[in-house]
């Protein structure tokens, strides 16, 4: 007998794992003439964890926003879950975590996490079990009545992640979510994020400036060049999940960090 868990473990390696995000020959020129992205191609399969790394202003956020359906392309084609990013089908399977926690300050933690269910019209009777589960998973069960201003930066980010995961999205887009946190909190949240991803079986596209973070989290790292943003190289991180803190001391980790740093220097 093969358990559900072991299937999920081997899925990323399987060639026929379903294609979740397809970006083909995308250019993006902003209204003021800035060419932010040029000739971008990206295929993300279910279960992958992909990091986008590159110098500031190279178009990482722009690409993520396009995949989320928050901005449009100038040329090329993007599909998410087989549909246009702005379609209901793509929207229903996507969640976004911003650099700041972007919580509603007038709502306590629980009501903040309920927001996506509320906006998507999920009937109220079904909220509690889902929200309880996700609060438990991010370790905030005891804080469900607290207001955002009463929480630390790391806890606020947990709420933001809980809110993103409450709809059980297939695709999680994260734009430098831990950029503003201290190193210890960042590492804890990194481990937590990998655990949550495994439990919920999500696919993640993650933007970061931090090479160590990218290597620790990702199965693949896409490295971008300065403006106009292009993919210059891809680094595969050859280490199986689940990964824990000891992974940071392994030769594979060091190898991938080296490769990434070298690619960035080009």
């Amino acid at each position: 007998m093969i358990s559900a868990d072991s299937i999920r473990d081997i899925e990323p390696q399987k060639l026929d794992a379903r294609l979740l995000v397809h970006v083909r020959e995308v250019n993006k020129r902003y209204g003021n003439g800035t060419l932010a992205l040029e000739g971008i191609n990206l295929e993300v399969r279910e279960g992958e964890f992909i990091s986008l790394v590159g110098p500031s202003g190279c178009g990482k956020s722009t690409l993520l926003r396009i995949i989320a359906g928050l901005g449009d392309v100038s040329d090329g084609l993007v599909t998410v879950n087989g549909a246009a990013p702005t379609s209901v089908r793509a929207r229903a399977s996507t969640a976004f975590v911003f650099q700041e926690a972007t919580l509603l300050p007038w709502r306590p933690v629980r009501a903040n996490v309920e927001l996506p269910l509320e906006l998507q019209g999920v009937s109220k009777a079904n909220w509690k079990p889902v929200v309880d589960e996700i609060l438990e998973l991010v370790g905030l069960s005891k804080f469900d009545k607290a207001y955002p201003r009463e929480l630390s930066g790391g806890m606020r980010m947990r709420v933001s992640i809980a809110r993103a995961l409450v709809t059980k999205p297939k695709l999680l887009l994260m734009d430098e979510p831990f950029g503003a946190l201290d190193e210890i909190t960042r590492q804890r949240l990194n481990s937590d994020l990998l655990r949550l991803k495994e439990i919920l079986g999500a696919t993640v596209i993650f933007v970061t400036h931090n090479v160590f973070e990218a290597v620790f989290l990702s199965s693949r790292i896409a490295i971008m060049s300065a403006r106009p943003g292009r993919f210059v190289r891809e680094v595969a991180v050859n280490a199986p999940y689940p990964r824990d803190a000891t992974f940071r001391g392994s030769p594979e980790f060091g190898q991938a960090v080296m490769e990434t740093v070298q690619s960035l220097e080009h």
Binding site: A68, F96, F98, L104, W106, L115, L119, T167
Partner: protein, 280 residues
């Protein structure tokens, strides 16, 4: 022994009772008032100024007592016109703000006229208003609304257009309807700004009503309020009565302000910096 004494003292002083808290908060303004009144009375005794130029505090209190029926009547009317104006200012001001904030084009098209209306002296508009609405309550309320509405419009509009971009993106990502975005995002986000507008307007509607009564009050019909009392008593050089009525209108203004402050506190106390009790 000495050490024990010190520690006893410090525990009592670190937990002040409610009474002593109130006392330490009220003492400075009350003593300032007492000093002010004593100086005032003293200056009159020394300089021998005529009563109609500067009445003494005692004269003013006397006038309060003698004229209390008239003052109460007038205050009641002013309170009524201010309240009507205040409700209208909030309703109309909020609606106008939502229209202005709904669309950049509409905002650009209309905002200059809102500013123009605000900058036109009411005294220039008063004759037209009186022709249209007649002497009495109608014109008084209109004048008061014109004076006070800008504070609500400016602040509410500012709040509605300041909603953080990523919060709007969040609502877009979950397919929120425009109603949901309005009620669950823009309105609560704008609330602290709105409360600021209400606070300013609460003082301005009282001033507006008194200006309105001064220009458009109808004394015969009992629609003169404090504004007409002020006009009449100054014409007759009843200076202490003038002081008493000015003081009454100030009290109404303070009452309005405190009420709005309290409502604002109730609305924002859980989450907004302005209303939160900080523990450092």
């Amino acid at each position: 022994m000495a050490i024990q004494k010190v520690s006893v003292l410090s525990t009592t002083s670190s937990e002040p009772s409610a009474v002593s808290k109130w006392f330490s908060k009220s003492l400075p303004p009350i003593s300032a008032l007492v000093v002010f009144l004593l100086l005032w009375q003293g200056i009159i005794l020394i300089s021998g100024l005529k009563r109609f130029v500067l009445p003494s505090p005692i004269d003013v209190v006397q006038s309060f007592i003698d004229k209390s029926p008239e003052l109460l009547d007038a205050a009641g009317f002013t309170l009524r016109s201010s309240s009507i104006a205040f409700v209208l200012v909030i309703l109309l001001g909020t609606i106008v703000s939502f229209v202005l904030a709904s669309n950049k084009f509409i905002e650009k098209a209309l905002y200059p006229y809102a500013v123009m209306l605000q900058s036109t002296p009411v005294i220039a508009l008063a004759p037209i208003i009186i022709i249209w609405f007649g002497l009495g309550l109608g014109s008084i309320v209109v004048i008061s609304v014109i004076i006070a509405i800008f504070a609500v419009v400016a602040n509410t509009t500012q709040g509605l257009i300041s909603v953080e971009n990523n919060l709007q993106n969040l609502f877009k990502l979950y397919g929120a309807s425009s109603n949901q975005t309005l009620l669950k995002l823009r309105l609560p986000f704008a609330l602290p700004y709105m409360v600021t507008g209400w606070r300013i307007a609460s003082a301005q509607v009282v001033i507006g009503s008194i200006v309105g009564e001064y220009m458009a009050g109808a004394g015969g019909g009992g629609q003169g309020g404090l504004g007409l009392v002020i006009a009449a008593s100054s014409a007759r050089l009843q200076t202490s009565y003038l002081f008493a009525s000015a003081l009454t209108s100030a009290l109404i203004g303070v009452g309005f302000f405190l009420l709005v402050n309290f409502i604002g506190h109730l609305l924002l106390r859980n989450w907004h910096e302005s209303a939160v009790q900080h523990e450092n």
